[in-house]
């Protein structure tokens, strides 16, 4: 009955990735038994079409096409098992029916795109060819149904006409949710296609009436449709009598009403010369299907569609049951009674909204209200695993090599890095061009999950940041990893960038992200850096633990300096690092209260690291940051009358004073005052000893050079009560054992000499003018200057002429200095000559 009135050519208009369309196509093909199947897609892929029937080919997969000379410009045509095109391919291949792609060849599309770029090249800022747009590995999309502006999105227009605000839902209602044999469809498998064709014809009527095919998408559409018609004609000429054409619904009217062949030839004559194109199959994922893709029809819920297509019956009940199982796994108490109620609610909602069947919206609403206690958060696993789904496709080994592999091979040749199964070591000097490129390649491959090289500790003794050591070993399994990574991009650089961006979006720990930022710099992926930095900023902003922030900052500051060495633009990095530093300045003082001994110890280490990082950041010119940090340290140090410093451990207060003193942000008199406040019998001896440790750790020269400090310490120690002394002693011992032996001796000698030398009167008279024991009242400049020539020689400076030269030789300006500022013995110089420029 149905076949009676069939035209020789049945044009089956579909919605790309629509499960309802896929079912309808399957039914129509079964009824039609065509002797040729023509599918919208790039004809260049015809030779590898047969692979679609391979047992090892598991959708979702995508056809990938790219110009042979420009792998960076690629186009993808993804297929899921619920894609109507896939159903048509498999149907034809399963029966040995000839099947062909009939769209405009990808070579022409690439040529057109290049032509347009050349035209637009007059303006500066036109994207250089080969520079795939960041974010999508898809590259330039072939102009397809979605190439036309959203305003003329056919399905949206139809939905609006039907009074629906959501085109997806409308299409679901009228097509997806009514299978053949269902209501409305009757027994005629062609009824839905006739309805779609009619609707599209009505839609295209005014467009073709007023404006002739003109620029932009419309011209592309005309070209593509002309090409498709030519292919249909060719199939007819080849003697096929029952031809099935599977194409996007929009094209149906243009393929059913055939103009003359000469008209189409004329149209196609205007095409630029075809670019030589390579095609292959690559594995795809549901997650990528959810984005916009080659067909221009990204689907928001591939997992749901997959379910609709594969569930034998009662899709809502089955889906809700699966959602319940997932929620149970996540620890929600969900019973079968819940599932029953959810299904009932979904159906009631569908009725209330006037829909024929509960769709994804209703089902999700019901699951949220019944199973998830109304909370969106509970739905996260459901959305992740069931709405989008985590299906990963597979491609047989016989598929042609992916462009990523070709790009890798090319790089391996130019960089003279042969993939060898034997393990070998590689030392790279990053100052050299080839070595730097090798390092970048290995880092990028690591990012892509292709661990060809493994970074190792340098075998060459050298502390420079310009050396890197790798252990190389090419495992044949890595080839499979390259294929897996293929969807990320067609060149190693582009793929690594896309992958880094994706990783950044999913990483949850701040430390992972800062590490990723560092890797991005190492792998020279400036394009990925903004996304990573954004993720860092977001995570950092939400991290309530100042400790985490303090841990993240030094890495960032390092990355920043390293980026400067490599000449990367690190503006974003700087912004984030400074933001982080500001937050640490705000959050640190409250986070330091009420800490135990061990916690205080950990914070002290972080305090030092942050201090060094702030100094590094400060070189970039933001003086304000240093001031803020100093203010934070000051509030930590306490000592202001009326200030509440209770709760900040002595260790940290002491450390803060020391850091301020080292920076010259606190005059030594002030430091002495702090010391006096801390080292009194009023505060507990243990706390005072902690203070002393915080203040003195990392360098005791201070005591040798400043009698007041030593005196205060000595006085306090002498006043510690007998029973508390045993408690304090180990702490002090530990502090002093950290000093160099020479310093310990010097301190001991000073204490002995002062005790012996000034038994009466005020000991250790402070202030200027009065000489400290062992020193003359005034410095003897002539004798002091005698040391300058030797010092200049040691430091490699031009000579003793410049008085500022010997200052601060180990300052942070030296690129390879260890990041932590060593509280050098020369610290006391801070009071004599203000540090830094």
């Amino acid at each position: 009955m149905a076949a009676a009135g069939l035209p020789a050519t049945a044009v089956l208009g579909v919605r790309h990735h629509g499960p309802g369309s896929a079912r309808a196509v399957a039914a129509a093909l079964a009824a039609l038994e065509p002797d040729a199947v023509l599918v919208e897609g790039p004809p260049e892929a015809d030779p590898i079409l047969a692979l679609a029937a391979d047992a090892d080919m598991v959708p979702p997969v995508a056809l990938l096409a790219h110009p042979a000379d420009e792998p960076g410009r690629a186009a993808f045509w993804p297929f899921a098992c619920f894609s109507p095109e896939w159903v048509a391919l498999r149907h034809a291949l399963g029966r040995g029916t000839p099947v062909r792609f009939i769209d405009l060849p990808a070579g022409h599309v690439f040529a057109l795109a290049r032509e347009r770029e050349r035209e637009g090249q007059g303006e500066p800022g036109g994207a250089p060819p080969g520079d795939a747009p960041p974010g999508s590995p898809d590259g330039p999309r072939p102009p397809s149904g979605a190439g036309i502006p959203v305003a003329s999105d056919p399905i949206a227009a139809l939905a609006r006409a039907a009074g629906h605000d959501d085109p997806e839902r409308w299409w679901e209602d009228v097509v997806e949710h009514r299978g053949p044999g269902g209501r409305g469809g009757g027994d005629d498998p062609f009824a839905p296609f006739r309805a779609v064709a009619e609707a599209m014809a009505a839609l295209r009527e005014p467009a073709s009436g007023e404006a002739a095919p003109a620029a932009g998408g419309t011209r592309d559409d005309a070209l593509r449709e002309a090409c498709m018609r030519q292919q249909i004609r060719a199939a007819r000429r080849a003697g096929h009598t029952r031809i099935a054409v599977v194409c996007g619904a929009w094209h149906v009217p243009a393929l059913e009403r055939m103009p003359t062949a000469a008209h189409d030839r004329g149209l196609l004559r205007s095409l630029p010369r075809r670019v030589r194109t390579e095609t292959t199959w690559v594995p795809w994922t549901h997650r990528r299907l959810a984005r916009h893709s080659g067909y221009g029809a990204g689907v928001a819920s591939p997992g749901w569609y997959h379910h609709l297509f594969t569930a034998p019956d009662r899709p809502v009940a089955r889906w809700t049951t699966r959602a319940a199982a997932l929620l149970r796994e996540a620890g929600h108490p969900v019973s079968p009674a819940h599932v029953i109620e959810a299904v009932r609610l979904a159906e009631t909602l569908a009725a209330l909204r006037g829909r024929p069947l509960a769709g994804l919206t209703e089902t999700l609403d019901a699951v949220r209200a019944v199973l998830g206690d109304g909370a969106e958060a509970a739905l996260a696993p459901v959305r992740e695993r069931l709405v989008v789904g985590d299906a990963v496709g597979r491609v047989p080994d016989t598929a042609p090599a992916v462009p990523l592999q070709r790009d890798l091979t090319r790089l391996q040749r130019t960089l003279r890095l042969r993939p060898e199964a034997a393990e070998r070591h590689l030392d790279l000097d990053l100052r050299g061009g080839t070595d730097a490129a090798r390092s970048r390649l290995l880092h990028r491959l690591l990012l892509l999950g292709v661990p060809w090289g493994e970074p190792t500790a340098s075998t060459v003794a050298g502390t420079g940041t310009f050396r890197e050591s790798w252990r190389l070993r090419w495992d044949p399994g890595l080839a499979a990893r390259v294929v897996e990574a293929a969807p990320w991009g067609t060149t190693v650089a582009a793929a690594a960038e896309a992958r880094a961006r994706d990783t950044a979006a999913r990483a949850s720990a701040l430390a992972d992200l800062t590490a990723l930022a560092e890797t991005c710099l190492l792998a020279d992926l400036p394009g990925a850096l903004p996304s990573v930095m954004r993720a860092v900023a977001d995570r950092a902003a939400l991290d309530t633990d100042t400790a985490h922030l303090a841990e993240a900052l030094p890495a960032l500051a390092r990355a920043l300096r390293y980026g400067d060495v490599r000449g990367t633009d690190a503006g974003a990095l700087r912004g984030v690092a400074e933001g982080l530093a500001v937050r640490i300045c705000v959050g640190l003082p409250p986070a330091c209260t009420g800490l135990g001994r061990d916690a205080a110890e950990a914070v002290r280490a972080r305090l030092d690291a942050v201090h060094a990082a702030v100094a590094l950041l400060d070189e970039g010119g933001s003086r304000g940051l240093r001031d803020r940090w100093a203010a934070a340290l000051r509030s930590l140090a306490g000592g202001q009358p009326g200030e509440r410093t209770a709760g900040v451990p002595g260790l940290l207060r002491g450390r803060a004073v020391r850091l301020l003193l080292d920076d010259g942000a606190l005059p030594v008199e002030e430091a002495a005052r702090h010391m006096g406040l801390a080292l009194t019998t009023a505060s507990g001896p243990a706390d005072a000893a902690d203070w002393a440790e915080g203040f003195l750790s990392g360098g005791g020269m201070l005591l040798v050079h400043d009698d007041r400090l030593l005196g205060l310490l000595d006085d306090w120690l002498a006043a510690v009560p007998h029973d508390a002394f045993t408690e304090v002693l180990p702490l002090l011992r530990r502090t002093f054992s950290g000093f160099e032996a020479g310093v310990r001796h010097a301190v001991g000698a000073r204490v002995r000499s002062t005790r012996a030398g000034a038994p009466a009167g005020p000991r250790f008279p402070g202030g200027s003018g009065s000489a400290a024991p062992g020193f003359a009242p005034e410095p003897d400049h002539a004798r002091a200057d005698a040391v300058l020539p030797v010092l200049a020689l040691l430091l490699g400076l031009p000579g003793p002429g410049s008085p500022g030269a010997p200052e601060d030789p180990a300052g942070p300006d030296a690129p390879d200095a260890p990041p932590a500022r060593a509280p050098a013995p020369g610290t006391s110089a801070a009071r004599a000559t203000p540090r830094g420029p």
Binding site: P333, S335, A337, H338, E341, R344, L345, T348, L349, A351, L352, R353, G354, T361, D365, A366, R368, A369, V370, G372, D373, G374, A375, E376, A537, D538, A540, A541, L542, T544, G579, V582, R583, V586, G587, P590, A591
Partner: protein, 391 residues
């Protein structure tokens, strides 16, 4: 998004008699009685309900005055075929209302969750009014709500005089709703003691309320259902038991989706409140209101308005209702102690008070926000200074 659209602003309509579905409780206010301060929803919107009922030809569940579609339209607003314009009672996602109405049409009870000021009570009142024409079957949950409030009590004089019998029994609103097939409301369900909450389990699962003293029971007739509201931010006072929770479908009422909506709600409520407090209307308050709403939204959402950077959220709820009280207090300050113009200094203290609830963690959040976001924002210098002054 919660927008009690015009209830506060609507002048109290004169109470009518013969309102469809008006229960005995409102019958006392006959003609000539003093106008009440606040009419019930079914009285204030009697015209709309009548118009909806007139043109509603869709199937209605038993004892529902309107079809589910009409109930949803009543809440969300729209224009009827006969030209009657139904005012929106709730401005927010359509989904929320649809799920709520669909839930009432099944035999599951409805639990409206949300932070204070998201119109939970408002929605529940209007749902009851539209479905049953009676929003007065209400139990207010408090720490002292006795079991009698959800089951039944006794008229002791009767009990002593006549002995136990139906006449001596004082039914609770829930019991009456069961008998009459109406929608009962429970406000602040989680404030009730847990044992009182659990007395609802039999009602919701068996749909009956046994009266062992009389050896009988009151069975729910069709049309009975229960709408409860609970505060999901002040959680944990009396957490629902698993058994009870299982019998509710939960709908979370979200906070206003856009700044515009929220500014609108705040402005309107502040004006209404100010009128009742006899405060002068500040001539350029709108700017400051927008600022307050922006601060609240940014801290609440954890992201700045331009979406560029994240901020930490404090422990407080920072609901629209709190924004309203901050602005109202600011206007009072400006009117009584300032020059009558609402300025940054007038709201700064209020904002800080609303943000800093936890004395340990919140000051840091607030400082970070001030230093990281407010400080650099153009035109916010005065606000930054004012906030710095209050600490």
């Amino acid at each position: 998004m919660a927008a009690p659209t015009d209830a506060p602003a609507t002048p109290p309509a004169a109470p009518r008699t013969g309102v469809p579905g008006a229960s005995g409780a409102t019958g006392a206010s006959g003609p000539g009685a003093a106008p009440v301060l606040r009419p019930h929803a079914e009285e204030a919107f009697a015209d709309e309900l009548a118009a909806l009922a007139a043109c509603d030809d869709r199937p209605r569940p038993e004892r529902w005055l309107l079809s589910p579609w009409a109930v949803a339209t009543y809440l969300l607003g729209g224009e009827l075929p006969d030209g009657t314009v139904v005012s929106p009672k709730y401005v927010g996602p359509r989904r929320v209302v649809e799920v709520a109405v669909a839930t009432l049409a099944t035999d599951r009870a409805l639990l409206l969750l949300g932070v204070p000021g998201t119109a939970k009570t408002w929605v529940s009142e209007h749902l009851a009014a539209a479905v049953s024409g009676d929003s007065t079957l209400l139990v207010q949950g408090t720490a002292g709500t006795p079991e009698e409030a959800v089951r039944y009590g006794w008229n002791y004089a009767r009990l002593l005089a006549d002995g136990p019998g139906r006449d001596a029994l004082v039914p609770s609103p829930v019991m009456r709703a069961m008998a009459e097939g109406k929608v009962a409301r429970i406000e602040e369900l989680t404030r009730m003691p847990a044992d009182v909450q659990d007395s609802l389990i039999t009602v919701l699962s068996e749909k009956t309320l046994p009266v062992p003293e009389l050896g009988g029971e009151t069975r729910a007739v069709r049309g009975f259902n229960l709408v409860a509201t609970a505060n999901d931010r002040d959680r944990g006072v009396n957490e629902l038991s698993g058994a009870l929770r299982r019998r509710f479908n939960t709908v979370v009422l979200p906070l206003p989706a856009s700044v515009e909506d929220e500014v609108d709600i705040v402005t309107r409520r502040v004006r209404a409140l100010g009128r009742s407090l006899d405060l002068p209307e500040p001539p350029r308050g709108a700017e400051e209101i927008r600022r307050v709403v922006t601060v609240f939204r940014e801290l609440r959402d954890g992201v700045t308005a331009d979406g560029r950077s994240r901020v930490r959220s404090p422990t407080g709820t920072l609901s629209t209702a709190e924004a309203i009280s901050v602005v109202t207090a600011g206007i009072a300050l400006a009117a009584h102690f300032g020059d009558g113009v609402l300025r940054a200094a007038d709201v700064a203290a209020g904002i800080r008070g609303a943000v800093v609830r936890d004395p340990v963690s919140d000051p840091v959040v607030w400082q970070e926000y001030l230093e990281g976001v407010v400080r650099e924002r153009d035109g916010w210098k005065d606000f930054y200074r004012a906030c710095r002054e209050v600490g």
